[in-house]
Symmetry: C2
Subunit: 157 residues, 2 copies
């Protein structure tokens, strides 16, 4: 079994957005989705972690927070939360999918290769570049995917 996030506990690097429970309800209800304890638990685990967590790590932590939660529900919750823009999915280098709380605004993550902690930054260099590339190549750039990898302060020790 492969999983990311081993040993990552409550780094709280990300604020995880500023929605309070009422905001969240509204976000769900706006799309006729129910605000269920399972979905909230998945989001809470991600918020408290501040790191990219793999499905398996998430499943484990969600079961601790809300015993009885099924793996399929974790998958479904992540799908829903991603559609709502509340969590972001990434592809770690080993091919394992992981998830983190989605940052607010247009940001990109720096992922610590040791502890999977995430720090987002806003200086996206792709706006200008995209225009230039469109001019040069004729390709209409629609989207981009950018992640940086590095070693965070704590893990440099």
């Amino acid at each position: 079994m492969r999983w990311a996030g081993a040993g990552v506990i409550n780094l709280k690097t990300k604020s995880g957005g500023t929605q309070n429970s009422g905001d969240l309800k509204a976000i769900f209800h706006a799309k006729r989705l129910k605000c269920t304890p399972q979905r909230l638990a998945v989001l809470k685990v991600l918020k408290e972690s501040g790191a990219y967590l793999s499905i398996n790590m998430l499943d484990k932590k969600v079961k601790e927070m809300l015993p009885g939660t099924g793996l399929a529900t974790v998958y479904r919750a992540l799908e829903t939360l991603e559609e709502l823009g509340l969590v972001a999915k990434v592809h770690l280098e080993d091919g394992c999918h992981s998830y983190a709380v989605a940052p607010e605004g247009h940001m990109h993550p720096i992922v610590c290769t040791e502890c999977n902690k995430v720090i987002d930054f806003a200086e996206c260099p792709l706006g200008e570049l995209s225009e230039k590339l469109t001019q040069d190549t004729g390709i209409v750039i629609q989207n981009h995917f950018l992640q940086l990898f590095g070693k965070c302060r704590e893990c440099q020790a």
Copy 2:
């Protein structure tokens, strides 16, 4: 079954590097790896495609070129070719892994979201940004992953 590369045939957008058969042999032998027809077939399929191909598409095309080749061998060949830096693995948005010939030098791909054709560009904006981010955050940036998505000229019609 999901697969990328549907209907992508011989776009020849990428040169696929300049190794001739002798160079390739040397590359393999330098790491005590054998230059087998299966490995060459996988590389050839990718070179002739110029697009990101999923495992299943690759398997299909390799079997056409070299009947009898097993799926496990395609997986193993890709692993080997990736270690040698000859092919690049990507994560398409649906989570499906795909592979393309690795570009020469430091480049990033623009992937057409319609046909999966790949065009690489060299204007990587992350050198300076990485330094700045390291100064700002203390994180030592080691690596980055960048892909652009768009619609190529042909697919805009």
